[in-house]
């Protein structure tokens, strides 16, 4: 009973703060309720991690009391702002909403297939949840860095000097989230901490579903969710605590919001997407690199809007400023503590040509000849061949393809020019995990390309 209550508080507090933050960012607008709740989770836990980091930086002990005080104070401020704002608000408009039914006037056979799809998703989520609750921490990265750091911070009640941590340059977002959960329990539990990852995955499925549903319909969105959850590696990572699935959440949500912004420019959406990509840098080092891709893409999209300079300046501020601030926080502290900014980005500009065949081999086998991804990469190629000519001018498809191309290009360049980083990347273990970060884009592109729309939307 007490454990249930502790867990409830551990999840509820950050979640409600995330919701208030999201409402503040969106101001007089809101998303569909499920989407609001899903995005609030990531936002709230990201805020929690930064709060704990700041508390520790100012030499405050990371006890339950102090962290709760910080959270409750933040919540009070947000609620106060909401109350003041409410006086000026009239109605909250729901944005990016599409009213349609999943079953609708489908034939009996189609209804059965849809029901099977829903059952498939729910069953796999149940498997993931059960697995998370009965398998203790035993995976390499969890034992060596991620959960290790959390356990250390939990017992020390502070973040030790970064130089004493394994991989000192690695961000502390995930360890701090885990520490928070265990502070609420009063002891370090090996099982319940996986729930953070499981809920992150479930909320991501909701965001993914609504994003696809907006650009296609709910049936195709459900197909997208089914495809995603049938990837073995995604299924596996949903129940353990590595950094890869959380960064997938933040980066993909940020990108989806960017695509929505391209459809219909919205200040709140711009700010939210920038915030999420900024948080990703506190989850894993690659987040900083993905932030650069994100800023580049947003610059291209801002340019396409053909606004006047004041409009461009405002949009640049919205897309760049939060990402930059959130990226900087950990780098500034690393600089102050004389810790290397990164460990794997030793760009030498000596072209390691001899490495190219091995990089291509790892990529080819890792993508096509692996049990990790079902046959989705092959299906992705087929979708491009079949439908790109008809759909290539679609804004959302172009943004996603551009992001995917930049992502793969950056990985290739990193493997080619970095001795240390490249050796790590072209290990099958690391490469598969890096592919998780933007893998949902592959599924999204399959769905968007194959969806039989009436006509392709032109680029603005």
């Amino acid at each position: 009973m007490i454990i249930s209550l502790s867990l409830f508080i551990a999840f509820f507090l950050p979640w409600i703060i995330g919701y208030e933050l999201l409402s503040l960012i969106l101001r007089r607008q809101k998303f569909n309720p499920v989407l609001m709740v899903s995005l609030s989770y990531g936002l709230g836990f990201g805020f929690l991690a930064y709060l704990m980091f700041v508390l520790s930086f100012f030499k405050l002990a990371l006890t339950l009391c102090n962290v709760q005080a910080g959270l409750i104070s933040s919540l009070a401020i947000l609620l106060a702002i909401r109350v003041i704002d409410k006086k000026k608000e009239k109605n909250e408009a729901v944005i990016f909403e599409k009213k349609e039914s999943l079953f609708g006037n489908a034939s009996l056979l189609l209804k059965i297939i849809i029901a099977l799809g829903i059952l498939y998703v729910l069953y796999n989520v149940a498997l993931i949840l059960l697995r998370a609750l009965i398998v203790p921490v035993c995976s390499w990265d969890s034992l060596a860095t991620c959960v290790y750091n959390a356990k250390l911070i939990f017992y020390e009640k502070t973040i030790p000097p970064l130089k004493f941590l394994p991989h000192p340059s690695y961000p502390l977002g995930i360890p701090l989230m885990i520490t928070w959960l265990n502070l609420n329990l009063g002891y370090f539990d090996e099982y319940y901490l996986n729930l953070i990852s499981v809920f992150l995955f479930i909320t991501f499925l909701c965001v993914f579903y609504y994003f696809l549903g907006y650009f296609t319909n709910k049936r195709w969105a459900l197909l997208g969710v089914v495809l995603l959850i049938s990837s073995n590696l995604i299924y596996f990572h949903a129940g353990i605590f590595y950094r890869d699935l959380p960064i997938m959440y933040y980066c993909c949500c940020a990108l989806f919001l960017l695509v929505l912004w391209a459809e219909q420019a919205n200040k709140g959406v711009a700010l939210l997407s920038s915030t999420l990509i900024g948080i990703s840098s506190f989850i894993k080092m690659e987040g900083s690199g993905y932030s650069i891709i994100f800023i580049l893409l947003s610059a291209i999209l801002i340019n396409k809007t053909k606004q006047g300079w004041p409009g461009i300046r405002k949009n640049i501020f919205l897309f760049v400023f939060p990402a930059l601030i959130l990226n900087s926080v950990f780098y500034v502290v690393k600089f102050m503590q004389k810790v290397q900014a990164t460990e794997h980005y030793d760009l030498s500009f000596n072209l390691l040509i001899h490495r190219i065949p091995h990089i291509l081999e790892v990529f080819f086998f890792g993508v096509f000849f692996s049990a990790n991804w079902n046959i989705f990469w092959f299906l992705f190629l087929v979708s491009i061949l079949v439908r790109f000519r008809n759909k290539g001018k679609n804004v959302s498809i172009r943004v996603l393809i551009l992001n995917t191309s930049l992502w793969i290009f950056i990985l290739f360049v990193w493997a080619l020019f970095s001795e240390k980083g490249g050796s790590a990347l072209i290990s099958p273990y690391t490469f598969s995990r890096v592919l998780i970060h933007y893998f949902p884009l592959i599924i999204a592109l399959i769905i968007l390309l194959l969806y039989p729309s009436a006509e392709a939307k032109e680029v603005k």
Binding site: S107, L109, L110, Y120, Y123, N124, L127, L130, R131, I134, V135, P136, V137, C138, S139, W140, L143, A144, V147, Y148, K151, L152, Y155, E156, P160, F164, L165, P166, F188, E190, V226, L227, S230, N232, L233, Y235, F236, H237, F365, F368, F369, S370, A371, N372, N374, I375, F376, F378, L379, V382, S383, L385, V386, P428, Y429, S432, R433, L450
Partner: protein, 231 residues
């Protein structure tokens, strides 16, 4: 919808025929061939996932996909050359979804089976025994020490095993994690640690410095020594 169902059944029949034919050069029974196919899409899972596990059957799968797509496009009938090419790619898309459905079904069965085995162990064994089975010697060793030395300490871990090698690095990380709050990895190594933990060190007692006292023995080659001023 009905035509898609017909194509689905057609591809499934073709696959059944293909599996029967493939089992001949593989010198396996049909059941054995199906198990090989299933294992290719859900290899043995270890605690770190499925990474790097390749199978020689993947090219066979892709060949089957291409052949199935050709079969469908033949059944759907001919048209102009351009039409046939387009039809082939459409058939390829449908075939991919059929294969996806079959593979997903295999994966659901294997995932359930794997979880079932873990769940049975979880329910039968006590918490300690269950973790011992999952985590092995590092857990057993660290658990004993934590029970005898509750509280927060700094420690050095000394062993004859080369913890920098790939083989033993995992063991080292596991022990250090299980030992927490006894801090082995994340303290200033210049300081005198509170504990010296000897793990699989031959004649360990001969390596204990004068200002430390042996306070725990675990077999012939593992022991814990405590700094004298802490006693």
């Amino acid at each position: 919808m009905k035509s898609i169902l017909f194509l689905f059944l057609l591809v499934t029949c073709f696959l059944a025929m293909a599996v029967t034919l493939i089992s001949i050069p593989l010198e396996l029974s049909i059941k054995g061939t199906l198990i090989s196919f299933a294992n290719a899409w859900y290899p043995k899972e270890n605690e770190n996932g499925f990474y790097g596990q390749r199978s020689e059957l993947y090219p066979v799968f892709y060949l089957l996909i291409f052949m199935s797509a050709w079969l469908i496009s033949v059944v759907l009938g001919k048209g102009t050359k351009k039409g046939r090419v387009r039809q082939y790619f459409t058939s390829l898309t449908i075939t991919c979804f059929v294969f996806f459905a079959v593979i997903s079904l295999i994966q659901v069965v294997k995932r359930t089976d794997r979880l079932n085995r873990i769940l049975r162990q979880y329910l039968i064994l006590s918490d300690d025994d269950y973790k011992l089975k999952a985590l092995g010697l590092p857990y057993a060793f660290a658990n004993k020490i934590r029970k005898e030395f509750p509280g927060t300490y700094t420690a050095n871990l000394i062993s004859d095993l080369d913890f920098s090698s790939d083989i033993f690095m995992g063991m080292h990380r596991n022990i250090c994690y299980q030992l927490l709050p006894i801090n082995v990895r994340s303290h200033d190594k210049q300081d005198r640690p509170d504990l010296l933990i000897y793990f699989l060190k031959k004649n360990a007692k001969d390596f204990v410095p004068d200002n430390y006292v042996i306070r725990g023995r675990y077999g012939n080659s593992s022991l814990v020594a405590v700094r004298k001023d802490l006693l």
